[in-house]
Every structure is written in C-alpha cells, then in structure tokens.
Point group: C2
Chain length 483, copies 2
C-alpha cells in the first residue's frame, strides 16, 4: 500500500483488494499458510451477513443445529464423486495425544456425509419429513493459492441440509434457497446477481444439479457467491436415508444442500469498492454514520462534544449504528480519509458554527465531493439520516447494476467471446461439454459461470449451436474470468 492510501484500482486491482482488506482492518493472514484472521471490523460485517441470512432461513422453517468437525475417512469415501472432488483438499487428523488413531479423521470440507449418516438414524417415516436444518460452522479445504476471504484454507459458512419425501419438494427447496441467497445479495449487500445452473463440470461433487448466484466484481470478474444443490438420492443411497411412505413402502429420501460463506465479505469489497477504499452498503455496514467533531479551542471542544453526545443518543435510539471519532491528535481531514477508506456510508461533521446554527454537515460515501455533501438541521436528524441511508443503499445497488449491465454481452462467435471476456461476461449458446469449457478456459482464462435461469426461460435451443465446437447448444451460458 502507498503512504497516501490504497493502491488505485486501475493500477493493480489485486493489490488494491489486498490493501483495502488490510488497511480497513477486515482481515489478515494467519501464521498457518492459507488461513486467515477475521478482525473485528470484518467480523462485524460477517455478523451482519449472518443475521440477514439466519432471519431468512428461520422464516422459511429451518432450524439451526451443529454437527461434528471430524468425519471418519470412510464416510467421505462412500459417495464416489464426492471423495474424488474433495480428496486433494482434505486435512487429516492422524494422531491424538501423541498416539496414532485407528481410522484417520477428516476435518470437514463440507458436511453432507456426516449429516447424511445422522439423518439415516433420525428419519423413519414420511411423518419425519421434511427435515430442514442449517449449521453455522468452519470448514477446511486446503488452498494452494489463498486470497483473503475469497479462497482460504479455513473459512466460515452456513451449510443447509434438507431431506424430503419427493423429488418435487427437494427441487422446490433447492430453488427456494437460491432465491433467498439472491434476495439477500440484492436487498442487504446491494449486489445484483445472476441466478443460474452450473455446468456438469462445475457442479458440486455428488450433486445432481448445482445452482449459484454469480456477482460481478469491480474488475468485471465473476464471484460465485452462494450455491444451492439438488442432491437427488445420491447421498440418501450412500448413507441409507430411507423412510416409510404413506403406503408403507420403504423409499430413499431426496436431499439438498446450500451454502454461503465469508467469501461474501470479499464480494462486498470488490462489488462496491473504489479508489478511496471500501464502500459498505448501509444495511450491512458495522458503522452507518461516523461523527467527526471539529474544534480548535478547548471551549469549542466542550460545546461540540456536548452537542455530539446528544445527537449520538438520538441516533442510537433510532436504531442507527453510529460511531464518534473522538481520537485526539488527528486532523479532521485525516479522519475523513480514514473513514472513507473504511467505507462508512455517511459522515457527519459538527463544528462550533454547526452547534450555533443547530445544523450538521452530512457527507455521503457513495457520492464523493460537494455533490454528496449537505448541511441539515439537527431537528429530526434521525429521520433525515434514515432516509439518506435508504437512498445510499438504493444508489449503490443502482450503481452496481448499471456497471454490471454495461459488461454483459451476447457473443455469436468464439472471437466475440474472447474479446468480451477481457472486460465482461459473454453469453453464448453452449454445448455444455467439458472439452469446450476446458478450451475456453485455456485460451481465454474465462470459466463457465452458469446457464442463467432468466435468459434461458424464453430461449429456443433448437438450431442454436455452440460457437466453439459448432455442436448443438443445450442452452445459453455465461463465461467470464472468475475468482
């Protein structure tokens, strides 16, 4: 990072990201390679994400539970695709108290297996269904190229695991949770997302079908920000999750799983950040309003701080998350920059003249400079601020949507695709083959993101061909550089 602040995005996006995460005190690398320490400011952001998701899960009938960190190696091996997908990333406990274990224990990379084993004991009859459970947990997938929040060996997430009597119900659940993730991203994180189905190559190891929400970052790269998997009867068969149906016949359950992780924190940084640093959507910002006192003499200080405590109380009472920056020995200008870098949506400045005139200066993070600055009356300040916070949230979503939409393009030829993915996402009729996806990845670094649900709704696949291989297309797919 430079002395002035973060590295400009235009100069080096990757360094800009690292600078912002570190300077804004969101996270840092841990002494163990690939692991991270989530610092208080970053963790508060995660707590906001947790609250927004947990509320939605509970409103749709899900309960939280907790399953063990350690999974017997034999469990992981039961579902063939599953072990194949996860084997290279598994951390394994072999010794305890200096003695070797009979069976090595895997530190969970995800919990379908151990939860499947439990569900097989819990579920007996159709009356026990559906089982709708979520857990908040840490998981470990060894990461060779770690990036804070985006790819870390250990990360925090929630993983939902549900079991149903019918395929229809399980598919409905899969789509319900995908919708919940999209709603969360849009309403709370102010990030527009594209819902879609992952290609066969990109789906979860062991799933019948995987769906994701894909978000566009500030460099136009894609970030898979939440996934919802329809597992069919794959795990039910591997773990013997059966129930007696209403006709007293023994049937396998249909299961789903879905997750969102601390990766979302990185997504918020990259979807909204600018050259000055972080920009946080008001709904999730740990601090929504920072108050910077301005004074020269001690007399002025007393007057100003007195007014500030009154205003602070008013804002807290109105449920606004407010922080007063009363640090000594720092200029107001330094503080302004500091809080802009930390992405606080709204800054309030109060000096002696404001106290006298009963006003306050408000400066918006989403509109820098004079255009985003106004003097407002201290009367009804909470209402004024609540209104502005809604405006900022809406504006950030509009900005992100405008940016995204300007970088989504249809491609009819492979050459067009190659051109588009240098600065956007290309939508092509896609054959769905592993070969084409590998070739595109190799030649353009863009990976298959998804078959978007919306765009495929009215798409007539007959006659459409894949511009890469010329074979019949199975649907429209987005390709993009991705994290």
């Amino acid at each position: 990072m430079t002395e002035q602040g973060v590295t400009p995005r235009s100069e080096d996006y990757s360094r800009w990201y690292n600078d912002v995460v570190k300077m804004a005190d969101l996270a840092d690398y841990a002494p163990v390679r690939g692991c991270m320490i989530i610092k208080p400011y970053g963790y508060e952001l995660w707590e906001g994400i947790q609250a927004g998701l947990d509320r939605r899960f509970k409103a749709t009938g899900h309960k939280n539970a907790y399953f063990p960190l350690f999974i017997p190696m034999s469990f992981i091996e039961k579902e063939a695709e599953h072990i194949e997908g996860f084997a290279p990333e598994l951390a394994v406990v072999t010794h305890v108290g200096g003695k070797k274990l009979d069976e090595p224990l895997v530190v969970r990379p995800t919990s379908e297996t151990v939860i499947g084993h439990a569900y097989a004991q819990w579920i007996h009859s159709y009356r026990d269904l559906p089982v709708l459970i979520n857990q908040w947990a840490n998981v470990v997938r060894w990461e060779m190229r770690p990036r804070l929040f985006l790819r870390t060996t250990e990360f925090l997430w929630q993983e939902g695991h549900t079991a149903h009597a019918t395929k229809v119900e399980a598919v409905e659940e899969t789509m319900r949770m995908l919708d919940i993730y999209a709603d969360f991203a849009v309403s709370e994180a102010a990030i527009p997302v594209i819902k879609g189905r992952k290609s066969t190559q990109e789906k979860f190891a062991g799933a019948e079908a995987s769906y994701s929400i894909e978000a566009m970052m500030g460099n136009t790269w894609a970030l898979q920000s939440g996934t919802s998997h329809y597992l069919g009867q794959n795990f039910a068969k591997a773990f013997d999750i059966k129930f007696l149906d209403e006709e007293n016949e023994l049937q396998y359950c249909y299961t789903t799983s879905w997750g969102m992780s601390t990766r979302m924190v990185g997504g918020i940084v990259m979807a909204h950040g600018d050259d000055k640093g972080l920009r946080l959507p008001p709904r999730l910002a740990p601090i929504q309003v920072v108050i910077v006192p301005i004074w020269r003499s001690n007399d002025q200080k007393d007057t100003v701080m007195e007014a500030i405590s009154r205003l602070q109380r008013e804002l807290v009472d109105a449920g606004i998350r407010v922080h007063v920056d009363s640090r000594e020995g720092l200029t107001p200008g330094f503080k302004f920059n500091d809080w802009e870098m930390r992405g606080v949506p709204l800054r309030m400045e109060i000096g002696p003249r404001d106290v006298q005139s009963g006003t306050a200066v408000l400066a918006r993070r989403d509109i820098l400079g004079k255009d985003g600055k106004q003097s407002v009356s201290q009367d009804g300040i909470a209402e004024t601020i609540n209104g502005l916070l809604v405006e900022i949230q809406d504006n950030m979503f509009a900005q992100a949507t405008e940016f995204r939409d300007a970088h989504l393009h249809r491609a009819s030829t492979y050459d067009e695709l190659k051109e588009i993915v240098t600065d956007g996402w290309a939508l092509i009729p896609h054959c769905g083959s592993a070969e084409c996806e590998a070739r595109i990845k190799e030649e353009t670094k863009a990976s298959s993101r998804c078959f978007p649900l919306e765009e495929n709704k009215d798409f007539d696949v007959s006659g459409a061909v894949c511009p890469v291989c010329g074979k019949p297309a199975v649907g429209l797919a987005y390709f993009a550089r991705a994290y």
Copy 2:
C-alpha cells in the same frame, strides 16, 4: 429410558441425565468417539446462551473476531505450563491432500497461543490498548470419558482474550468477566453460582490465577460453568506482546482469557431437571408457551384452532416464543407429558368450552399438578403470560438456591468433610497443597472447587488450619464431587 419416560433421577442420576438429553432431543453422540451432534432443540438453547452472553460482552466494549482453527505445534510449545497441560488432549493434523506436512498442526484446544501471536503484531503503543476481543468457536480436547455437553471431544464456546497496559486493568477485566458469567447464570439460566478462585492445581495451564463460577447440580455435584483467567505476563513473554508506554519504554502487556461453553446446556439440564424431565428457565427456553388444542369433533377442531391462531398471533406480537402442537393422532395427555419432558415453562390448553367462555387453561412446569394450573381470561393473555413467565423464572431461581443452600456446609474436621461430600459441598480452611487435594480426591472423590470470594472476604486466616494435614490454611475452600 423406560417406556413411561425418563429414568427417575432418584433411581440413577446418570441415566436420568442421558435420557433427558436424548428424549428431549437436545443432542446425540456423533459417529466419531467423544463428539456430539447438537440437535435443533439443544442448539436453540445454545443460541439463547450465546445471545445473553454476546449482549453482555458488547455492552462492556468487547468486539468479536475469528482466529484460525489450526495452530502450529511450535506455538503450543512456547508456554511451558500450557503445553504440559494440553499435550495429552491434542488432535494433530499431519497430512493434507495425502501429503505429509512439514510442521504438524494442532486443532485448537484453546487459542491463547495463536491469538497471542496476532496481538504481538497488532499492539505497538499504549494507544492500542486495551485490546478487548472475543471469539465464538469450536475447540477440540480429546476426551476419554465423554458425556453429552459436559465433556465432549469437540465443543462450542466463546473465548475472550484481552491485553492491557497494567496489571490492575487486567485483574479488573478478569473480575469483570467473572461477574458477567455469574450475572448471566443467575439472570438468564436461573442458576445460583459461587464465584471463587481455583487452587494452584486446578488453574488453567499458563495462568497466574483462574476464577470460576461453580454451580450445584440436582445430585449436589458441582459443575464449573465458566472461567476467567488472569494470565499475568506469561503469554505476553512467550509471544512477545509488547508496547511502548507513555514514557516511551517497552513493556510487556498483561493479558486475560475467559470462556463459557456448551457445557452450560448440561448445567441447565442438571440444575433444574426433575423426574419428569427437563425444566427450562423462561428466559432461555426455545419455546416459552406450548398451546395444546383439545377437541373431539371436526367442528370443535375448527373453532378451537381458530381461537388458537388468534391467541398465537397475540403472543408472537408480544415477543413470546410460542408453539402450537397441532400433531394429529396423539392424545392431549400424551402431548402434556411430552412437553413437560421437554421442559416448556408454560402449557396452554384450549378446548371448546374455553373458546365459549373466552378463557384458557395455563399449567406451570415449575409447579406440577393442580397447584400450578389455572383458568385465565383470553383478554390480556400476553400480559398474563409475560407475568407468569417472570414468576416461573424467579421461582426456578428460588428453588435452585434453596436446594443449593441446603447442601452447603462448613466442615471443621476431615471426617465431617467426608460425610458432607456424599451429599453436598464442604467448606474447609484449606492449606492449598497439591497433596491434600490429591488425598481428598482419592479418599472421597471430592475435588477442590474454589476459594469462594464472598466467604473469604471476612475470613481471618490467622490460626486457621487445614483439617486434612493440620498445616496453616490459606483460605476457605469448597470441596465437592464434580463433573
């Protein structure tokens, strides 16, 4: 467990505990030895505990953060007492993706070391102090004799870690957190606790002094339910946590750590449970009121369910956690027993006659039978119930306090101690030696619980001798059978 319900406490306390935990669906053993699955009802109880603690931590200026699960073995070895205490319980990751690691990684048993390492990077000047951080996490300590919630190889907890400029501040913090644990236990869990200092033998590996809250279970055994450690400069020296003081001199910090875990769930079960099963304090009960509909004909059912939905809405609006047991094919009597076993503080029965007369029958879990049952008006039902929930909370605390106080005794001789600890806690002048503690443990199975703060306040130690060895006492100490 018997067909009728849980094994009576008087018959076999240990089986009673297991029956309650399993029949009330709080938890179950996991496929990995010593690990547990916390089921939704048990996890909701834990969520209540989390909320009660988290609120208190934040109100006293603490922030949450997250540190890594894996700790390099070399870190654990840096503090001599620490590694000695934890070595036999450590689970160690040696392999990743099939390859052997250069340095084995310990799955955290507690995080003083890895957090100490981070604080050494973060803290430079007195201006950075105090650092007041808590984390919610899972930890692993290999357990040879597991018991659900009480002793499990993996458990969930919070661990606070703070760093201070002076000894005075660190000691104050240690006592502040001990007080917070006691306040939580009393106000939310309705469990009276004794605050005290652990003996040298029982203190945390690496601490200068450990304090705990000790609670009495229904069989008079003690449960250490929360601990707060003053770590002095031990970890600061091992991990080089230094700061420049106001005179620009380099000084070591003083640190503290403190934790409460899922063990508290077991404590609530055992402090309040009776022969019928669980009894949950209203403040923490996942369901505060269960409504059982009573009807014979379908006509009656419609009328009853309509009234119930109205009442349910009223209670939900008043912030009361309510559940309607609309299961078909089960008698009201079966449901009454079921919810009594699950410890729901208040049951509401509504039948056709209640609908007609605008009344409802309320039955208290803390007072079984006719004495705890009353017919109340449906008008102002939320207020009535809120009042009753407070009464139940208070009564449960009073019952637990009365029981505890009846089983606390002063002992002047070793024989008295032996007698007392068969059914209570014995308070003796104690020399504090490892030898006496070991002898008492060996001969009576009672362990040193603590030097209680309150009882030692006015105790004149001069002339007091340990009844076991006859040497001078250092203070009054409680001895008791313990989990």
